[in-house]
């Protein structure tokens, strides 16, 4: 940026912070232990950030593994023949003989009906070759050739099985890690932990110790989960390892559907136990957020004067509280089913596998709103700030969050339209599912109206937020397709579904997460990042994402089923495009990471309020001091930006002292 960049911390009035007040949560205490035992919500947020991003990396590696495997579908018909021809030749040659090309071609000629005629033709070719070859060379005999062919066929079957096994474990690891370890905790645990108390003008969340406990539950559950699933992958790559640490792995998909999950010989019990512990982390965070929002709001911040991010986090926490325990009991039942054979879900024992699906989706559909609601909260903040306009339809956005939270509990059956639900249930679930689109659309329209006539600034947080609106609209509208009964029969369990939920989970939640990270980054670390490179990062992520997943709608509508490692030729081109896009996406994400690391190492000091936002987290220096605020800031309308003036010499906004007498007043009293 410009050469007038400040090197010194400034407060909200643009005044340099004097030495004795220079306190910053990052440097408040030093040493690893001061982090591992911290009760500071900001540090816990940062620790979540490191952990969650690391797991995101693992999940991402497996995404690429999947996409790359899908460019080499060893089961397609032409590949199979090529593999077997090569192997036949190799087997013959390894026995010291040679085989003429023509014989192999004849051997694999498609559509042969007369086997005897074929044998005669091949024998002729072989004898010809033998007579023309020199005395030293040995040409293969017909029976040996046939043996070689059978061996090659066997080898191919074996390869295919391995390919499938590896693919199944990889997509399970990818999906489970992304859902349980990345998307669910990403926004609430990282950004929520960091900004929620700041937005409340509070010193911490209501229960700092539970907050730390939640991080430990997360780490414990996540590392165990990853260990169990990773073992399967490693055992596959290096089979001797199984003798060292035993079996593991998981190939049920992230949904653990029975009856397969009660039958597979992979480590379902251990994996579900890991997910169970992760649930505790989710619940503890949610308890904290609910209590904090109820009890720690400052004077003057009524429910309808809260920043929308807080509404979103509140709605999310309510869902987490109501849904996660159901997942917990479901997983316990599944463990009991596998360990003791209690016959609740296993049809061989009189149980009902559909009941499992009901239980699972009663959690997991609300869980998709755990992923999307906080994302919507971030977008509400960013859109308003970067349009320099008061958010439009505040009450509607706030209430639609709660409406989504409630409706989200009534639609789980839309995952089971083809599972043998009654027609009546199908119809009811279909209608309620479509109803969810209403509060979702209310939000989208309000964001658009907020931008209308605003002075829009396309900084990277805003770019991500705009990306969110675009991608969420596609994801949400295709959700309506999925919810339409007749259409669902056709597209269920195809790549159309894969594309749909990637648009809402990756397209929307990941984009909003990145919007939030770029938006609060200066506050978190007190460092500016390179806006230019951040925008390039956004462009690559946006383009890469759309190439990867848009094509999957088409592929799915054409019938490509999901969770298959191989496919027929007709889908090749789509898979290749998708894989190409995923590589662009990967480059984009690494660029984002690079921008962040560069900012940490080389970034200039950021001002207290680089964006001119008015929610309370911007009323303290960047990064915030250990106790968050020198003086408790007065709670005013978070979307009223009129008191902030741009100050080029600090590249940030400062509070107009005359127009905000309360702030001066509070500062004078210094009632921290």
């Amino acid at each position: 940026m410009s050469a007038t960049q400040p090197t010194q911390q400034t407060d909200i009035f643009g005044k340099p912070v004097d030495e004795q007040h220079k306190d910053n949560y990052l440097t408040h205490q030093r040493g690893l232990m001061s982090w591992l035992f911290t009760l500071d919500h900001k540090r816990i947020g940062i620790m979540y950030m490191i952990a969650v991003l690391s797991f995101f990396f693992v999940g991402g590696v497996f995404a690429i593994v999947l996409r790359v495997m899908l460019t080499m579908p060893i089961a397609d018909a032409s590949n199979q023949m090529r593999f077997e021809m090569n192997d036949t030749r190799n087997i013959v040659e390894s026995s010291g003989a040679t085989v003429p090309e023509e014989a192999i071609k004849l051997l694999y000629e498609p559509g042969v009906t007369d086997a005897e005629a074929q044998q005669q033709k091949i024998e002729v070719v072989l004898t010809d070759a033998a007579s023309s070859a020199g005395a030293g060379a040995k040409v293969v005999e017909y029976p040996e050739l046939i043996n070689a062919r059978d061996a090659a066929a066997q080898k191919y079957t074996q390869d295919l099985t391995n390919h499938n096994t590896f693919y199944n474990q990889s997509f399970t690891l990818h999906g489970a890690v992304m859902v349980f370890l990345f998307i669910i905790p990403a926004i609430p645990a990282i950004i929520g932990n960091f900004v929620l108390p700041l937005m409340l003008g509070a010193k911490d969340v209501a229960f700092p110790r539970l907050n730390l406990a939640s991080w430990y539950c997360y780490m414990g559950g996540a590392l165990f989960f990853l260990w169990v699933l990773g073992k399967g992958i490693l055992n596959f790559l290096v089979p001797t390892l199984e003798g060292v640490w035993g079996g593991g792995g998981l190939d049920t998909g992230w949904t653990f559907y029975t009856p397969y999950s009660t039958e597979t010989n992979t480590a379902v019990v251990a994996a579900t136990a890991g997910a169970f512990v992760l649930g505790f982390s989710s619940i503890l965070t949610a308890v904290n957020f609910i209590a904090s929002i109820h009890m720690l709001r400052p004077k003057g911040m009524t429910w309808f004067r809260m920043p929308l991010m807080l509404w979103a986090l509140y709605a999310t926490a309510v869902i987490q509280i109501l849904a996660t325990p159901v997942l917990a009991i479901t997983l316990l039942l599944l463990i009991a089913e596998r360990a003791f054979g209690i016959g609740i879900f296993d049809p061989a024992l009189g149980g009902d596998p559909i009941l499992y699906q009901h239980f699972f989706w009663f959690y997991s559909h609300p869980a998709v709103y755990i992923m999307i609601l906080p994302a919507m909260g971030i977008v509400s903040e960013v859109i308003s700030v970067f349009s320099r306009k008061h958010i439009f339809g505040y009450a509607f956005i706030a209430c639609s969050s709660m409406a989504i939270a409630i409706l989200g509990f009534l639609v789980w059956g839309h995952h089971m339209f083809t599972s043998g639900q009654s027609e009546l249930l199908n119809a009811v679930f279909s209608i309620i599912t479509m109803l969810v689109a209403i509060p979702s659309a209310i939000k989208v329209f309000n964001w658009l109206t907020t931008m209308y006539n605003g002075s829009i600034r396309l900084d990277s947080p805003m770019l991500y937020a705009l990306g969110f609106i675009w991608l969420f609209t596609i994801g949400g509208l295709t959700g309506i397709y999925c919810a339409t009964l007749a259409v669902n029969i056709h597209i269920h369990d195809t790549y159309f579904i894969v594309a749909h939920f990637h648009y809402v989970m990756v397209g929307s939640t990941l984009f909003a997460f990145l919007a939030g990270m770029h938006y609060w980054w200066p506050k978190m670390f007190g460092k500016n990042y390179s806006e230019r490179w951040a925008r390039w990062g956004w462009l690559l992520v946006f383009v890469g994402f759309n190439i990867t997943f848009f094509i999957q709608f088409i592929m799915g509508a054409l019938g490509m089923p999901r969770r298959y490692a191989t496919y027929i030729d007709k889908y090749t081109i789509y898979h290749h495009i998708s894989t190409g896009g995923s590589l662009i996406l990967t480059v984009g994400l690494f660029l984002v990471l690079f921008v962040w690391i560069h900012s940490l190492l080389k970034g200039k000091q950021s001002p207290a309020n680089p964006w001119g936002a008015n929610s309370l987290e911007w009323h303290t220096i960047s990064p915030p001091p250990h106790a968050n605020f020198d003086h408790a800031p007065p709670a005013t309308d978070p979307y009223d930006y009129s008191h902030w003036r741009w100050r080029p010499e600090i590249a940030g906004y400062v509070l107009n002292e005359d127009s905000e007498p309360e702030e001066k007043d509070a500062m004078a009293r210094n009632d921290s």
Partner: protein, 325 residues
Amino acid sequence: MNKVDDNHDPHLAHHFDTPVQQYSSAKIGMWVFLATEILMFGGLFCAYAVYRGTHPDVFLYAHHFLDTNLGAINTVVLLASSLTMAWGVRAAQLGQKPILVIMLLLTLLGGVGFMGIKTIEYSSKYSHGLWFGSDNAFYVKSGKYTNPEELTGAIEYGESHAMPHEDKGELTDEHLELQVKDAATEDVLDNQAAGEAQDQSLPASAQSNIGNATNAPAGLSSKFAEVEGDGSAYVTSEKKPLTYEDLDPQQQKLVSQFFQIYFLMTGLHGIHVLVGMALIFWLFIRALRGTFGPKYFVPVDLVGLYWHIVDLIWIFLFPLLYLIH
């Protein structure tokens, strides 16, 4: 409370402004946590409802294996311990240390009593081959009994529990009157009488329809709405408890499911009781040291809430598992 005290309150965490704020936060947090507990048990109640709904006779038959007397005693024990707990909370708030200590001790004893009785129940189940998982006499896998040698003994054990009813033989009006005085069965008998009356008022064809209902499918099927229990096995008009033979073969295979659900529900509940006992013990030690008083009683209050919830869950478990009719 004066200002100076506020500032020196050793129990006030730095991020709260007032003790009241801190206390209310803790309470909200606890209530929210209790909501998760209820939802967690809610899953099991759902499983119960589904299987009771899809094969009611199995539940009707198998509940005889549970000892209603012990269950009732346990209910009383737990209710009493809830009372002592509530009293303890009050004592803490009023700073009555001796009463608090006594009440916590009594509550703890209630927990011990409950778990003791539960242990008696569990071990008698265990010794009659009616345990959790595949270790159950009625366990059928892919159409075969896995522990056939235990079956006869288990059936005898269970059906002997039901004997007291059967001993009365034909129910005369006199018997009816006697029993009506028994408050616990009053409603049930009313219902039975009503059912009987209705039965008789039905045309013969309808009655036989009830009798010949076909086997219930093993689970929730696409015909959810059509799933019915096998009405013939109710034998309501005969006032005679079901026997294993009364169940049709389809249902005989599912009897072990009742025990699975019974052990899951009471087991998870028992774990909660144990956790509650540990917490009460911790309170007890701290109360002995005089930690609690009018200014600091939040932990007693919160553990009290937890204990009441655990009690409340039992209040639902007892009738659903022991008192089916």
